[in-house]
């Protein structure tokens, strides 16, 4: 069998497993964990468009999660608008905010950019925490918004069981991965990596680095906001400390960094490795050893940055390729 065929086969296998998992895993707790895993894989892959390809370090992405969550929730609660529509509106709003943030900050160098994104995100969070009403929209300040689980069904983006959520986020994840793969092979992808790695050289080669970064930011913020709506519909309760917090921004960045930013598989791998650690620690050690998962994250992050700065995806991908090589050099057998 050729290498390419084997690669497609392995991808297909992964896909089949992913889609078939809910048939095997019946426990709502574990399904919940899986949904969150895919959610974070989605979030980190979206983050990767700016943080990986564009080569900067945005540490305030939870702002977009919050924008998405609040927009669709407010529109649904106050005006009865379907969350699916609200999702799109939230996404568009996030694009505007993202571009506004990006315009001045992309001119800055690394550390300043990171600080500025933190400041923006925290500023937005503080604002939402302090406002009851933004014009006609009720934001409810620090108390947050609760979505009454009244009408289930696809149009209302609300379900009693975990399975539908699982499939929705899985489809979203696959879409984002495909988009990332597409971009990485396209002109924009080449321009983004070039601009991220050596901006002066890239500019001399015809790359409008700032504009490419803005495009990446627009895409990333749109996609991230969509996840915000999903989050709201899944947990049915949002407040600034949950959807817009610095912790969420950092977790997204950490997962991408440990998994390997700039690659396509990296963020997903990072989520697969780290999210279960996070959830299992909370379940088994939550009371006795709070914050254990964060210590593990921190230590992992340090170790990965020292020994494998391109992320854990590098050795894992090498292993995968070696496996492929081994499988394809096997002599064709008569059976």
């Amino acid at each position: 069998m050729t290498r390419a065929k084997l690669q497609s086969l392995s991808l297909l296998l992964v896909g089949v497993i992913a889609f078939g998992l809910p048939l095997v895993v019946r426990s709502p707790t574990y399904l919940h964990i899986l949904v969150l895993l895919f959610l974070y894989a989605y979030l980190t892959t979206s983050w990767n468009l700016v943080g990986g390809f564009a080569g900067v370090l945005p540490l305030g992405h939870s702002a977009f999660v919050g924008i998405g969550a609040y927009t669709s929730t407010v529109l649904a609660l106050q005006y009865g608008i379907s969350p699916w529509l609200g999702m799109i509106v939230g996404g568009c709003l996030a694009v505007v905010v993202g571009v506004l943030i990006g315009l001045p900050t992309f001119k800055m160098r690394g550390a300043y950019f990171a600080l500025a994104t933190i400041a923006f995100a925290e500023g937005i969070r503080v604002m939402v925490e302090n406002i009851e009403y933004l014009g006609p929209f009720k934001l409810n300040g620090p108390r947050g918004l609760q979505i009454p689980p009244l009408n289930t069904g696809l149009t209302n983006f609300m379900f009693a069981e975990k399975e539908p959520y699982y499939y929705i986020i899985l489809v979203m994840l696959i879409a984002v991965l495909a988009l990332t793969w597409f971009i990485s092979r396209s002109k924009l992808g080449y321009y983004l990596s070039a601009g991220g790695e050596e901006p002066e050289a890239a500019m001399a080669l015809g790359v409008n680095v700032a504009r490419c970064k803005l495009i990446a930011m627009a895409m990333s913020s749109f996609l991230t906001a969509l996840a915000g709506t999903f989050w709201a519909q899944f947990t049915l309760f949002i407040h600034p400390k949950s959807v817009m917090s610095l912790d969420v921004s950092f977790e997204i960045a950490f997962i991408a960094l440990i998994g390997g930013r700039g690659s396509i598989a990296g963020p997903v791998l990072g989520a697969i490795i780290l999210r279960p650690v996070s959830d299992l620690c909370r379940i088994y050690f939550g009371a006795k050893l709070p914050g254990l998962h964060l210590i593990i994250f921190g230590v992992l992050l340090i170790l990965v940055m020292i020994f494998q700065p391109r992320g854990l995806q590098e050795p894992l991908t090498k292993l995968y390729h070696r496996f492929l090589d081994r499988m394809t050099t096997q002599p064709a057998r008569a059976d």
Binding site: G110, G123, N130, G298, I302
Partner: protein, 295 residues
């Protein structure tokens, strides 16, 4: 009107302490060109160190400096040596060592959550320390005594650090390295040792700041987060690498925080500080006193 003045003066006092907390950050940046995201956590460690030194021995909080400063220096020295140096070596030719920022963020997480695990989430205060709650009356205003002590300590530390960098051989070696690491190493200065020393000094300053805070501020595992963020703001306001700028930036933040609630809800003053931070970042990123780097 007097209230505003009183608030302003108290704001200056607490602001100078903020400046002290940010001073270590600016020293580390000035030399290593790296923004140490773990700085708040180092402050937290310093506060716990001071807390336990006093709680276990009953000495005057400021006497604990004798123990805290050297301990923190060593902590910072080896933190840089063991964890950050490998990254530096790997990223020698990279213009902006972003990986170091990532690593220090990891250190932040580990330290904060380790102390949560070890010390527990409860807020601790030094109840019977000789400075707690003492007020000094001055011209009809009530000034906080522990903050006054802090103010003096902040200025003394700033002066000492300034003297160290200008007048001592080691200090000059550090400045040389910060200006041009390759040239300095060609002159026989071991740049990695310099980085260790600089990090040690920055951490020791955080320890001193911890001592000044402990008499009146609560000690808890995530106390560093707020100071971390404020520290960045102060250091950008005052100028990365500038010691006087750190004190001044701290005072600006302190005054806004103290006087602000007179005119608006307290939580909005937090937003104002962020807004000011962003304005400075865009308009004059080198800050009010900072050296213009190749940013």
């Amino acid at each position: 009107m007097l209230y505003v003045l009183e608030d302003a003066i108290n704001g200056i006092l607490i602001g100078s302490i903020y400046g002290l907390t940010a001073m270590g950050l600016t020293v580390i940046f000035g030399v290593l060109k790296v923004i140490n995201f773990a700085h708040g956590s180092l402050l937290m460690v310093g506060m716990y160190a001071a807390y336990w030194a006093v709680a276990l021995t009953g000495i005057h909080p400021y006497l604990s400096l004798i123990v805290v400063a050297p301990v923190m220096y060593c902590f910072g020295y080896y933190l840089q040596d063991i964890i950050i140096k490998p990254i530096f070596k790997a990223e020698k030719d990279v213009r902006e060592p972003i990986t170091v920022i990532i690593v220090t963020t990891g250190v932040w997480y580990v330290l904060d959550n380790l102390s949560l695990l070890i010390f527990g989430p409860q807020y601790r205060t030094l109840q019977d320390n000789p400075l707690r709650g003492k007020m000094l009356e001055f011209g009809g205003m009530m000034l906080s005594v522990p903050k006054l002590w802090g103010f003096v300590t902040a200025l003394a530390t700033a002066a000492a650090i300034y003297w160290f960098f200008q007048k001592t051989r080691l200090g000059r070696a550090i400045r040389a390295t910060s200006l041009d690491r390759e040239a300095a190493s060609l002159m026989g200065i071991n740049q990695y040792r310099i980085y260790n020393v600089a990090f040690g000094i920055g951490t020791a300053i955080a320890g001193i700041a911890g001592v000044t805070l402990v008499p009146f501020y609560n000690v808890f595992p995530s106390v560093g987060v707020l100071f971390d963020i404020k520290g960045f703001i102060i250091v950008v306001l005052g100028g990365l690498g500038s010691i006087g700028g750190a004190i001044l930036g701290g005072i600006i933040v302190g005054v806004i925080e103290s006087v602000g609630p007179q005119f608006m809800a307290a939580t909005w003053t937090e937003a104002i500080v962020y807004a000011l931070f962003l304005v400075v970042l865009f308009v004059k990123p080198s800050g009010l006193f900072g050296v213009k780097y190749d940013w």
